[in-house]
Subunit: 288 residues, 3 copies
Amino acid sequence: MSSKKRILIQLDTDRLPSVFDRVVAVDAGCEHVLAYGGVDPGSVRDLVYGAIFTRGGDDLRHTALFVGGSDVGRGEEVLDAVKRSFLGPLRVSVLLDSNGANTTAAAAVLVAARHQPLAGARAIVLGSTGPVGRRVARLLARAGASVAVGSRALERAREVAEKTRAAIPSADVRPVATSSASELEAALDGVQVVVAAGGPGACLLPLEARRKARALRVAVDLNAVPPAGIEGVKAQDAGADREGHAVYGAIGVGGLKMKIHKAAIARLFESAAQVLDAEEVFELGKAL
Amino acid sequence: MSSKKRILIQLDTDRLPSVFDRVVAVDAGCEHVLAYGGVDPGSVRDLVYGAIFTRGGDDLRHTALFVGGSDVGRGEEVLDAVKRSFLGPLRVSVLLDSNGANTTAAAAVLVAARHQPLAGARAIVLGSTGPVGRRVARLLARAGASVAVGSRALERAREVAEKTRAAIPSADVRPVATSSASELEAALDGVQVVVAAGGPGACLLPLEARRKARALRVAVDLNAVPPAGIEGVKAQDAGADREGHAVYGAIGVGGLKMKIHKAAIARLFESAAQVLDAEEVFELGKAL
Amino acid sequence: MSSKKRILIQLDTDRLPSVFDRVVAVDAGCEHVLAYGGVDPGSVRDLVYGAIFTRGGDDLRHTALFVGGSDVGRGEEVLDAVKRSFLGPLRVSVLLDSNGANTTAAAAVLVAARHQPLAGARAIVLGSTGPVGRRVARLLARAGASVAVGSRALERAREVAEKTRAAIPSADVRPVATSSASELEAALDGVQVVVAAGGPGACLLPLEARRKARALRVAVDLNAVPPAGIEGVKAQDAGADREGHAVYGAIGVGGLKMKIHKAAIARLFESAAQVLDAEEVFELGKAL
């Protein structure tokens, strides 16, 4: 048995590294969290070298990396730089969870699956063009759902659909415009699962449109700041029946999200060659 | 019993967070100190959210905040931003000790009280316009002393007196000018307690003036850098008799200050809703 | 027995403090590593005061300082500022290892000594003008070798020789130019030990020149990035026989370097008044 301490190196793209991620890391059993703020792709190599050149052999798995910060696109660039810095077997495990995007998307899809088997289901992602929405779409498609990716601008939804198909060739995904009430109504027709992943300040699914969606079984709203992204859903909702739908709000999803986050951190230290992005985090959440 | 680690989040307004405060936090039993430098009021909310959204219920008390840095005014702004970021019961305990002002002021008043009961006593604070001086004046007034707040500029002393009365309506406090030897002599007449809280480089109380203060019992000089703020007091003095007065220098007060600092950190983790500013730190020091 | 935690304060001149140094510190038994990036001489005093004013008496030895970062010259300035900030017996132990220069130089000289007694030996340092080369020259000279310090520019080699003699009056050291094949051949004549300490990108000792050096016993190449600084030496070499010489590459030296680094960190906590620079680190490595 090695006596090496568990070290998590937190690479955060914000100036001040996230307190949230540091506390979760401690609670997940990390004995030392080496927190870095203001990390950009150019500063990654030296930091990764410090991780891979200090401990040898099996001890390497006691060091791991976490990529975070509020900007998911920037986090993805840092993750790419991390992967490019590994030298063959000289590598450590890494989790990407900028803005909580991966753990949130995984939790959203998992709570939906409690009420509706996803294989063969019809689902729609509202506000699908942001980093969380894109991940939710990918996870739903991979689980075998037929997925509509919605945006007020059809062009942007098309781009999300294309990217999803590029990642998952078998994906059944189509873009839908959701700017008018009639477009939204048409998009929701026959849909069992809706996930709203838009930013704060906009209601993406009014109550009236939700009532007309007769096939709807479960509605997940990931926006925590009023007004609700799905009208009638409260942030604390965690499976409550509202208008005949099982509904979840951001805080209601938060409990599972936190469990997944901690499990993902713990998983990092099981072996040294893992890259935990959306799909891996989802699989890990499924096994909880 | 919870197995949660004690986490202190150090919000420091200086670029490099204080080593002093970090070491004291470790010695006071904090298992993880999350040190942030360059903290301004605008960056506080996200940091506080990370503190209050990661641990639930009774576990919240194992996370606490410390506001520090060399600029006390800036620290007070950060403390205000911290308090505004709490969401009802979602809050953690917080200690303000920028520049050691609260623990120093508490220690200064407590060592004075060893030699002179403060209720009904007459006291003067020299260099009262700085952050430590203001706190000493408040603590003396609250303890029931009749307090003269001194400054070379009467106008500035008036402002301190007004602020003290605004904080403590029952305060018996009056401004005094101390720029000339005769003013100083008049101000010290009948006074039992003097605390010098001015910055380095100035002697606020010459030996001659001190000898003329016939009622004087105890003199506390908080300036550690020569020349002494109270002539004839050495930094190491801790109750020594000099010219018939019990005197304390900055280092002599330091032992108690350190005890209070550690006790205040430990206190943070007893419950989750405390705000420890000058008065709370003083009460805590009194109980040691 | 004191229950004080071992605290290492890492003063790093780079913006992001070295992950390498933090992980080694943890593995060497430090319970808290207080990592500071962007440290310059002007910011040192307050940091050192925080180290020396927080723990008293024998407990002071549980706090120590580490000066690191990629710029060795800057690290030396920080070390000087650290020493100037100590107040008599109020001091803690400090290790300088910017860019790994001290531990690398010590390891290089120690592996050479495995194959050739250094007292009375003839040695040459190629690329001697950098911080590692200067240290290697000093350590070889102090061990009693006759040392040639090489540079493509004789003028720069002269400066290194003068500095070495200034540090060690008894040093037998002479500058040599190594820009042409014939100069190099002459410089290597009769030499038993060669250490190449140049930067990446340049081969300082071609195979042909090495073959002609008939007295050569051991060759140490500290450059890890291809091309090799000494042709025919691989980074992993650790005493391999190549062309009749025992050879070491940067990674081959790395194992001993790491042991020395950890031992130096552990040594810091044995007493409070140590300054570990090249010579002290070398002595410590010799005792391993």
